[in-house]
């Protein structure tokens, strides 16, 4: 649905997006990167607000720049927090529906539907100026969904949402993805993205650093040691047993004496052996977890190495 071919965007001498080639299809895809990585520029290229300096961007096989045919099938929830503050949420969403080509009655009905979907129907008659950050996010999402678009782009949509709102929002995204919608979500909060999808595009300084499934990307990084944190009441005993393994590189004791952190080059073998130690030899291990099994660590590996 979305295709970028060697797309670059320059702002004078500053590069926003640098030679990005990728395709985005149905399902939820996360666009990750630190502030200034080029996420919003990429979003603007796809939503036809900008055109690439070099290369090409196509959505549904068409150039999206100022293209109403594309906008009929695309919804965009921008990062900015600005609205027509004097309007009510309902009026704003209704106006956007009219701009999308709905007649008066259709627009009213459709506005109510999407306001219901984002949990804002009851509060939609208040002026936007009095809305909380979370309510504003929901209204932005409502206007993006007004046309029931095939492609939805959400720029930092979780900003300002409370935990319940985030959960509801993620459920909504999952439901939309299940209907075959193509959803691109940008974020720099990796933990949240991890809960939404495993399909990522990682941007850094305008370049596409990695793309694909989170697990696959993690496997590509096996040259880096994998860390495992083990909670135990007897750190010395556990460390003594593990340090002798050929694929364990290092063992580090935690200051409070409640566990150890090891580094291994063969995580699969290590986890197998750890189970054996617990089940057959009764080693006092209360739990274990890998801080490397999340996007944060992958992001660090890719960006900082």
């Amino acid at each position: 649905m979305i295709r970028l071919e060697q797309a670059s965007k320059w702002y004078g001498q500053v590069i926003g997006v640098n030679d990005v080639t990728c395709q985005i299809g149905p399902g939820v895809t996360a666009l990750l990167g630190m502030n200034g990585a080029g996420k919003s520029t990429l979003m603007r290229l796809v939503t036809g607000q900008m055109f690439p300096t070099t290369g090409s961007v196509t959505v549904f096989g068409m150039d999206p720049f100022a293209n109403p045919q594309v906008f009929r099938r695309l919804g965009y929830c921008p990062e900015i927090d600005n609205f027509y503050e004097h309007q009510s949420g309902r009026k704003f969403v209704y106006t956007m529906a009219r701009f999308s080509g709905f007649g008066h009655r259709q627009a009213q009905t459709r506005a109510e539907e999407v306001l219901q979907q984002v949990g804002m129907l009851e509060r939609s008659d208040r002026k936007i100026a009095g809305y909380s950050k979370g309510m504003r996010q929901r209204i932005k999402l409502a206007q993006a969904m007004i046309e029931d678009p095939e492609v939805i782009l959400l720029d930092e949509p979780l900003n300002g949402l409370d935990p319940v709102g985030r959960r509801e929002f993620m459920d909504l995204l999952a439901a939309l993805a299940a209907k075959g919608k193509c959803i691109l979500v940008s974020s720099h909060i990796l933990f949240e993205v991890e809960q939404m999808t495993r399909s990522i595009l990682l941007l850094h300084r305008g370049r596409l650093l990695a793309t694909g499934d989170l697990k696959v990307i993690r496997q590509l990084l096996d040259k880096y040691p994998h860390r495992v944190r083990i909670d135990t009441s007897d750190p010395r005993e556990v460390a003594a047993r593990l340090v002798s393994l050929p694929y364990v590189i290092s063992v580090q004791f935690e200051p409070r004496g409640t566990g150890i952190e090891i580094q291994t080059r063969e995580p699969n073998q290590f986890y197998d052996y750890l189970s054996t130690l617990v089940l057959e030899e009764g080693l006092p291990i209360e739990g274990y977890a890998s801080p490397d099994n999340n996007l944060e660590s992958i992001f660090k590996y890719l960006v900082l190495t």
Binding site: T47, F71, T95, F99, S100
Partner: protein
């Protein structure tokens, strides 16, 4: 249907209560100023001359000022308050969006200009008929369309266009009609004066004449004025639509 909605929506945005109140007060103030003019210049110029003078110094300047303010609301203000993104990601052809919003702004400027002209006329003539008023109303309507479409184009070309537009409205439009030779032809105000067919004003200071742009020799005919003003409006609308369709407009802080 879409075009009509864009027009109505923009119009309702431009005539919000606070804006209407400000311009209503300006119009009322003009009536008051007219009364003061009559008192101060008792025994001086005729009422017709006073009306013409006030028209050329104040009313025809206010139309340019109102045009500068409302034309910024067409695109520049949307960029400034970052709401442009909602408009440009809708399935609306950009030319239609710009044209309808420009027409809405023009409508508001016409209403403002007419209110000011009527108030001035009532202030000077009271309930007596003012033979100059109908021609002034036509000239003001054309001036509103010409200034608004021109300023919208300027706002599409440059950031913070308001300063340039105000300099044009109060500097260029005052100085150029007073210049010798054919330079007056470079001023919209000259064509508006030709359309209003205002008689020569007698018994007033050169300063007032200069402020009204009345020192130069304006030999433009009404037909020429109509043709040139229509050409300016059409050219600005066409150029604006073309430029707006082919260029990027993103929220202000991102553009810097």
């Amino acid at each position: 249907m879409m075009a009509a909605f864009i027009f109505r929506q923009a119009l309702s945005d431009f005539v919000r209560f606070r804006r209407v109140v400000v311009w209503a007060l300006v119009a009322l103030a003009l009536g008051g100023i007219a009364q003061i003019f009559i008192l101060v210049t008792e025994g001086g110029p005729s009422r017709q001359d006073l009306y013409s003078l006030m028209s050329s110094i104040i009313t025809f300047r206010l139309v340019a000022l109102a045009a500068a303010i409302f034309s910024m609301a067409v695109v520049a203000q949307e960029i400034e308050q970052k709401t442009i993104v909602y408009l440009l990601t809708r399935p609306i052809p950009r030319w239609m969006l710009l044209t309808m919003r420009t027409l809405a702004a023009t409508t508001v400027v016409i209403l403002v200009a007419w209110a000011c002209a009527l108030s001035t006329s009532v202030g000077i003539f009271g309930s007596q008929p003012n033979p100059q008023l109908p021609r002034d109303l036509v000239a003001l309507a054309m001036g509103a369309a010409a200034y608004t479409s021109l300023f919208v184009v300027v706002s599409l070309f440059i950031n913070r266009a308001m300063i340039v537009c105000l300099l044009f409205a109060f500097g260029w439009e005052t100085l150029i009609p007073n210049m010798s030779g054919q330079l007056y032809m470079l001023s919209i105000n000259s064509y508006l004066n030709a359309l209003s067919e205002r008689p020569a004003i007698k018994g007033t200071d050169d300063l007032f004449q200069a402020l009204g742009g009345l020192l130069g020799t304006n030999t433009l005919t009404t037909d020429t004025a109509w043709a040139v003003l229509i050409a300016i409006i059409a050219a600005c609308l066409g150029l604006g639509a073309l430029w707006f369709t082919r260029n990027e407009y993103i929220p202000r802080e991102d553009a810097e």
